[in-house]
Amino acid sequence: MPKLLEVNDLKTQFRTREGPIQAVNGISFTVNEGEAVGIVGESGSGKSVTALSILRLLPMPPAQIVDGAVLFQDQDLVDLNEAEMRRIRGGKISMIFQDPISSLNPVMRIQDQIVETLQLHLGLSKAEARARARSLLEAVGIPDAARRLRGYPHQFSGGMRQRVMIAIAIATNPKLLIADEPTTALDVTIQAQILELLARLRRDLNTSLILITHDLGVVAGVTDRILVMYAGHIAERAPTEEIFDNPRHPYTLGLLGAVPRLDAERGSDLVTIPGSPPDLLHPPTGCPFQPRCPFKIDKCATYPPDLKVGRDHYSACWVDVTDPKEQQRAMQKGFIPLHPVGGTLAGEFSAGNA
């Protein structure tokens, strides 16, 4: 698959009165054409800042892209001027945000908000744009589209608003769709509808997708590859199945163990990651995870390089967490190895249950 987006050593900083905050601290990754990449991390890990840096949507100052390149179709977005950038945004790269009520204009009819995008980017006439707006709403599964087009955002439910946002985002057939926690504000049944919609649109339009979420379950079903972010760094990146089958970074191990799973038996204690994420004003030296890490060794005082641990699988950790000796050592510090989940769940085909 040809490369669509290549982020190289991106560093984004916020200048505050107390000092600079390295929100994104030298991350590199690629997104191929038609590929879905998940970015997973907790609050403050830098996942949203990464997305906003790609689209240059951060208020500057206080934010500043201090280093790195964002190559999109061989063009460095960091160097573009504002007018050029505006053509990219909503044209070739679209974004969907977490909170659809604050991303839609409350005093504009839905129709006008979609038509605005279409006229701006595709140069359609008003009548053409209206017809396309209607087919877009139908495409994202909004019933009675002709009537709903004349409605205002407050007349739509949360799930329906997110569908409208997706309709606007795909209006220009973008090459890349960035969805930042698109289902976090929604109920679980509505979340399933929206994830299904995103997957279908990606198939139909061959759009690449960056899906940003704190929920490992959401990325498991939708993405091809996953980046796990912690404190502005990429801790681990690998194909989706590889991350879940063969996690190599202690933080990924911790995250996987900390999530209660619907198909797990009850009663067992969850694996906890002690402490809390670092204060980015005063980050720890070396690996940012080391104060919480049961695998910590002396070497962790220097930041580990992106070590290749498998095919297309990189982990920024000095320790081989699969080594039984290292696991023994970590268990003395409270580490609980992940045990295979043996529970059953309604809706699984029994043939698949090994």
């Binding site: 919609l197 989706t240 009850r266 990651i273 809390s276």
Partner: protein
């Protein structure tokens, strides 16, 4: 006695701490200024009966607007119920007022979702944790201070934090403070309304483990209210699924998750993403069309029929009772619970357009 009440009489050997009987909570919608009159009602809770066994955790699951938080708030009498009974042992919380209510409230405490909003920013941690003891006249001043320090230790915080303010703490630490405050007067029963929903994944596990540890050491009973089925499965011995003010399904142990007997439960389960791509690939999904109907105009018959993939004519006309479908305490309110298994296996997708 209704069928529901009979169904929820305590079973042999199970000691019930809290019994909710036919609880109804309607919020009136008023119109007019001088001559105010009622023009309708939000049917937040519409007849719910549920037994909560002593020392156990009962999980109450539902989407936003299902009425699960209203039940929690009614149980501590933040609302006075429209009708129904709330028996805590032998006292009916729905009937009590004044000093009697206060005396019973000492046995019931609540932990809220948002630890940023539930802690008064102008009180120190010590004052926050001590407040329930002061209100209920427990202990002398120096005893209270000593006990507050012990409580901080119990919930895993440094006792030296006693004179700090809430803004100096992270979300997880604040939730620990809220828990210390709830257990300070040694209640029997804690209602936890989405206690971990606002927390990050790694912190969530810490709080869940803390709550389970406290339950074991203090013999606490929990009503755990959450929209997150995976969390509820992890903590609860009995799970109740709520939809638009009514219980759709109740069962002990993993029954609800392994063998759902209500199409709504089945749809909820299939909607939860699982952190395992292999499982995700082989799962069948039941996608519900549309949104939750308005609790002002409850659909006729079965209130789930507007979104139900199994709905027939009878569902639009006759409300199915919540009844034991298996003779071992697996309750469901559905005319076609024998068809749910087939639905789960097949999956269904409705309400999607095409490009």
């Amino acid at each position: 006695m209704t069928a529901q009440e009979i169904a929820f009489k305590p079973q042999v050997n199970s000691d019930v701490l809290m019994r909710i009987e036919d609880l109804v909570m309607h919020f009136p919608i008023m119109q007019g200024v001088v001559f105010q009159h009622k023009v309708g009602a939000v049917h937040a809770v519409d007849g719910v009966s549920l037994a909560i066994p002593r020392g156990q955790t009962v999980g109450l699951v539902g989407e936003s607007g299902s009425g699960k938080s209203t039940i929690g708030r009614t149980l501590v009498r933040l609302y006075k119920p429209t009708s129904g009974h709330l028996y805590l042992e032998n006292d009916d919380l729905a009937e009590l007022e004044g000093n009697q209510l206060r005396a019973v409230r000492r046995r019931v405490q609540m932990v809220f979702q948002d630890p940023f909003a539930s802690l008064d920013p102008r009180l120190t941690v010590g004052a926050l944790i001590a407040e329930p003891m002061v209100i209920h006249n427990i202990g002398m001043r120096n005893e209270i201070r000593q006990r507050t320090e012990d409580l901080l230790r119990t919930v895993g915080l440094n006792p030296n934090f006693i004179d700090r303010y809430p803004h100096e703490f992270s979300g997880g630490q604040r939730q620990r403070i809220a828990i210390a405050r709830a257990i300070s007067i040694e209640p029997q029963f804690i209602i936890a309304d989405e206690p971990v929903s606002a927390l990050d994944v790694s912190i969530r596990a810490q709080i869940l483990n803390l709550m389970q540890r406290l339950q074991r050491s203090m013999g606490l009973t929990y009503l755990f209210i959450s929209h997150d089925l995976s969390v509820v499965r992890h903590v609860a011995q009995r799970t109740a699924v709520m939809y638009l003010g009514k219980l759709m399904e109740v069962a002990d142990g993993p029954e609800v998750y392994v063998n759902p007997l209500h199409p709504y439960t089945a749809a909820l389960l299939s909607a939860v993403p699982i952190a395992d791509p292999k499982t995700e690939k082989r799962r069948s999904r039941i996608l519900l069309g549309g949104d939750l109907p308005s609790p002002i105009n409850i659909p006729s018959g079965c209130r789930f029929h507007t979104r139900c993939p199994l709905a027939q004519q009878i569902c639009r006309e006759v409300e199915p009772p919540l009844e034991d479908k298996t003779a071992n305490g697996h309750f469901a309110a559905c005319h076609f619970s024998d068809k749910v298994d087939a639905l789960v296996k097949k999956g269904s997708i409705s309400g999607m357009g095409s490009l």
